[in-house]
Amino acid sequence: MQTDSLVTIRDLHFAHDNRSIFSGVNIDIERGKITAIMGPSGTGKTTLLRLIGAQIQPDKGEVIVNGQNVHQINRRELYHARRDMGMLFQNAALFTNISVFENVAFPIREHTNLPESLIRKLVLIKLEAVGLRGSANLMPSELSGGMQRRVALARAIALDPALIMYDEPFAGQDPISMGVLVKLIKTLNEVLGMTSVVVSHDVPETASIADYVYLIAEGKVVAQGKPAELLTSSSPHVKQFMQGLPDGVVPFHYPAKDYIEDLFDV
């Protein structure tokens, strides 16, 4: 168990529509490090981020962020605690009716009373960090998917949160955008010391930047360790996922009755 954790998840149980998503998950996210949560699609990785952000309630267990159990504090305290969390959503989730500049300025305007000249400087600094200062006056619809994700990243770090969560940051990106995002996540973590949680199923990209990896499958943490350890692991679960084997512990076929029986059964 790690000692200096920003996020501690203990015995987390969560079910949706009577389908169990997590059954006893324990995770520690170390301060100032990049922690990757990996696992096949549909294992509830995004749900885990929503549980950390307390957007949904667990059935059992606790999530402690910065010393606070986020599921037991009141609404006001929760909204206050969230100012210290940033989240990059899978589809960027930019506000489509306002410009790139206004999107990044949005959390600053809502949470502070800074003068306009200072807001402008802050926004331009954040946009420069993601390489999109030149696009400040464009509308989100004028940007490519990768650029939108970078603007969303600039918005997520606008208030310099202690924790930033990336939901599938590499999904559906071309190799160049992917490279840019990998570099950005690493740089932001090193330069700003932000604790980062990367949820992803892109093994090489995630393994290249993560300090510690948790592999989730069937509602549990099936493996954890440094990326190099997992890449050389002999556990069948880990091996199948890390090497992308089509069949193995996670079967290729969805559970069904016998094939021949099904074909000739009228």
Binding site: G53, R82, R83, G86, F89, L94, F95, P107
Partner: protein, 260 residues
């Protein structure tokens, strides 16, 4: 058999709990006290989107409704030689019934559906979630200004609707059917009572405004975040709002005319 009874019971409980949730939602909207300095510009922005942009459809519809009421009224009244009472007929039908009700129905179709679709799409594209994660409550930032803008807009639009409708009636009655303008206006002002007619129309439109906007924002906020979900919610907004307007109109009229 038992399964059917159980299903019936379950759907009953579902309906009750949904009503309860919607009720709590409404109470939170009404009794919330946000910082006025931040919320005022947001309400003004929504007043434009919801109120001002609905103005054209209201004015055009009101004109036609006023004109057709005058035509129909003249046709019937003239049989009894009472065509001088046309001003009274047009004004009473508009202030008491047609103004608030038709404006409410048009508002549900024009602004209510737009509200549901907009909020629903914001939810589907995770804009509301991202706001929550920024520590900004979407109920306050997105829903609250839209709710109040709707509640303020519809009564004003109803009044405009009634006024324009009466003008439409005047154009047909005086300019076309040849009724004396003095008779038209003086009969109207003699028979329309401020409390009984104008005020009751305003009260109706306030009630419709709260109900229609409440349904619209609630449906948007609780939509299933899929394309079908938005389509269903938008449809529900228009259907529920229209039925609510017509049903409540009957109840309010009964109360106002002293039937209860």
């Amino acid at each position: 058999m038992f399964e059917r009874v159980r299903e019936l019971g379950r759907s009953g409980i579902d309906v009750c709990s949904e009503m309860g949730r919607a009720g709590i939602f409404l109470i939170r909207m009404i009794f919330r006290r946000p910082r006025l300095i931040k919320v005022f510009p947001l309400v003004v922005e929504q007043l434009y989107a919801i109120g001002v942009l609905s103005l054209i459809i209201m004015v055009v519809s009101a004109l036609f409704i006023g004109m057709v009421t005058a035509l129909q009224g003249y046709h019937t009244l003239s049989k009894f030689g009472a065509d001088t009472q046309l001003g009274q007929l047009v004004a009473l039908s508009l202030t008491r019934e047609l103004g608030p009700v038709v404006a409410g129905l048009l508002f549900a179709g024009r602004a209510g559906s737009a509200l549901t679709a907009e909020i629903g799409l914001m939810k589907t594209t995770e804009q509301l979630s991202s706001m929550e994660m920024m520590g900004i409550d979407p109920l306050w930032r997105v829903i609250y200004p839209r709710f109040w803008a709707g509640v303020i807009s519809l009564p004003v639009l109803s009044l405009i609707f009634t006024a324009v409708g009466i003008y439409g009636g005047y154009v047909v009655a005086v300019k076309w059917l040849g009724i004396d303008a003095g008779t038209f206006w003086s009969n109207m002002s003699a028979s329309v009572d401020f409390h009984l007619d104008v005020l009751s129309g305003i009260i109706k439109s306030i009630v419709f405004a709260v109900v229609v906007t409440w349904i619209a924002v609630y449906e948007g906020y609780t939509t299933e975040p899929t394309a079908e979900g938005i389509s269903l919610s938008t449809t529900r907004t228009v259907v529920y709002s229209s039925l609510a307007v017509l049903g409540l109109d009957f109840m309010l009229t009964t109360i106002m005319l002293g039937g209860w």
